[in-house]
Symmetry: none
Subunit: 223 residues, 4 copies
DNA sequence: GATGAATGAGATTTCATTCAT
DNA sequence: AATGAATGAAATCTCATTCAT
């Protein structure tokens, strides 16, 4: 186990270095050499741990899902004494926070969803190719990809049980509507993040508005 | 002028070919050769009309804005007899339709916004580099980039005047909230478009829900 | 046609450059860059004409077969007034000469034979991989690979008709026996070719002996 | 000595593993890692015993010569009561068998001969480079390389003494002629060895023919 | 003795861009 | 205007070899 965890430590170090440079320069504009330099190792070392650039990206995707799941669990844990509505709003809030703080993760999640949904013909402009399926992380990600959704859906159910959520729409639809808001929000803010406003609107105002709207329509029996 | 319009015809043909292949394969995965082949001309010809791949993408971006503006104007024209609320809902509806039918355009708009907002340092993973600023289309796009927003805002104003829109939030915030929904919706559907449902939710159901929600919160005085 | 032949001229120039450096340094030890330098062009140019290093080798293989066929036809033509035995001895002689003068061709022929005969499992040490099958030249070579053999067999038949060849063995066996001698002869001489003797035997003596033995056993009714 | 033989045992194990993978994949396509894996040790261990990949190949070459010599001696021993002609035919027969059963050895012998004959400039496509000369096995091989030939030549001499061999050619020429046949035979059969015929000729038929021809021309006073 | 992580030179291949015709 | 051959910088990936533990 010592040996194995040693390997894991290095793998994680590489992933973290990769996250740093991918975040700064983007996947396409980043050379494996850049990742190596960031960590102060040689190119070969990166390839010793990750068989390809895509595999490395897939590992990041895995971490993205893991991180989101962790975030969701923590949120749910924090609000377990409150009603389901508050639990869900909490999840939503942490979802936004997560996406804002980890734009790369947010992108990775999105890329993966697109990839899984896409057939071979007509692939869009993603970093992902068929080679990705050969990544050892591909299966791992597939195994956990639905956990965030399920946590979300479970909170809706809880809210319905305790009467705090009155919206009668299909739970999945609520999830999609909420997720889309977050994605749009994050995408439109996708820059180096120095700016604190857009179209003269404070980003924090916008963020709060999304959460408020979410709460509103969850409570709305006509929702 | 004859010469000039002849040039325009060719330019447009190239842009259309580029749109086709970019849509299919994405910007990064498309070679200039592919664009040339699609149109049945040589690579040299493409470069005769467009100084770089980036410039070509910028031309597409320009068309994307033009097209969105046109779409918005048509929508507004169609609903000018109705109240502002309906005008705005119509704009929203056409916005979604536009984005669904032109994923590439939708991406281009987003890329441009990101690009403009970003400082030079810390550019994200966009197809857009500094070379973009040198594009002859860059200035042109900057000149019209705010028109869609302004149309949207004007309809809000109209709705407020005629009492159909009661939501008291800053108009720009409403715009951002609406736009984000559309972006999220489109992004999550971003595949070859063969699928008609996601998470067991019909896409049309989702689309209608977004429009319904938009209408709801525009009318809501507490909105 | 002018255009096409222009392309062919360049292709041939590249092939000839490649033959030169492959002969000198061997396939594995030769970089595409070396081929480019030999011709005074850039690496990219080589790839403009040949999609891969293997494809280039396959093109050489094609030339090898073409050249051998040409050599055989010329030999047959030269001896058409003589009996079949002499025709066959002539072919044999030119076969040896061909192999001595074109060691690279001789290797290429051998590699191809091995490749075609081999199944996927257990490929031997050749420059050839499965990628080779994707070479545009692969099919072309397959189409002509049996011509040399057929010429050889036809001469045996002619010799039997005119009574000059009395050996009663299966024609194919005769071919294999003769070919093996040539291959062994060439392989054992496979060096830069400066030496004129081996084991104190003059190479010319050895060569003549092979031809003499061939003639002997073709005439031998007990052969 | 205990230490030394322990070392030898390990060296032999490595050589055998190397022979296995080189036979299957060829020298060039085999990574040191593959050799290590085959034996279930680490790459470092291989390097502890063999200074380089070339050196390892040289060790195999040494074994190839040893094995051939052993084979020859056994054959000679078996036929010492018979006439020299039969002794020589026996050697030939075991030579063929040896080469068929150990294609890698057969290649190694050939590579070594080529290497020794070649000058530094103009080395052909062998796995062998100048580094080979630095191999500790290089000298060892040089010391024994002529033994097979000498055994062969000695049998010819014996056959001439007892009158069973009447062929008057230089003994070395006879050796070369015989060896070439074997090399050609083996090279043309160089595949995974599943096929039992080539050009509709049974390989066993061909093999027997070579032996028969060898006997014939050894007896032939005009040979 | 043995390990396997780390190195880094080098190989193949790609492709936006240029330019002679 | 148009062509497409040519360029060459750069990217991904390989692997024999080294070396700290």
């Amino acid at each position: 186990m010592a040996v194995h965890s040693k390997r894991n430590i290095k793998e994680n170090a590489i992933i973290e270095a990769a996250e740093k440079v991918f975040s700064k320069q983007g996947f396409t504009n980043t050379k494996m050499e850049d990742v190596a330099k960031e960590l102060g190792v040689s190119k070969g070392t990166i390839y010793f741990y990750f068989s390809s650039k895509e595999n490395l990206y897939m590992a990041i995707t895995y971490r993205a899902f893991q991180s989101l799941i962790e975030t969701f669990y923590i949120s749910v844990e924090h609000t377990k004494e409150e009603v389901g509505l508050e639990g869900l709003v909490g999840v939503m809030r942490s979802f936004i926070k997560f996406s804002e703080e980890n734009f790369l993760y947010s992108e990775a999640l999105l890329d993966f969803i697109s990839f899984v949904r896409s057939t071979n013909e007509g692939t869009l402009d993603k970093k992902i190719t068929d080679a990705m399926k050969e990544s050892s992380y591909y299966e791992r990600v597939k195994d956990i990809q639905n956990i965030p959704i399920n946590i979300f859906l479970k909170e809706i159910e809880r809210g319905r049980q305790d009467g705090s959520i009155l919206n009668k729409q299909k739970a999945e639809l609520i999830y999609l509507y909420a997720w889309a808001s977050v994605i749009g929000f994050v995408k439109l803010n996708a820059t180096s993040g120095k700016k604190t406003s857009i179209l003269k609107v404070e980003i924090s105002t916008w963020r709060n508005y999304i959460i408020q709207k979410t709460r509103d329509f969850l409570k709305d029996p006509e929702g």
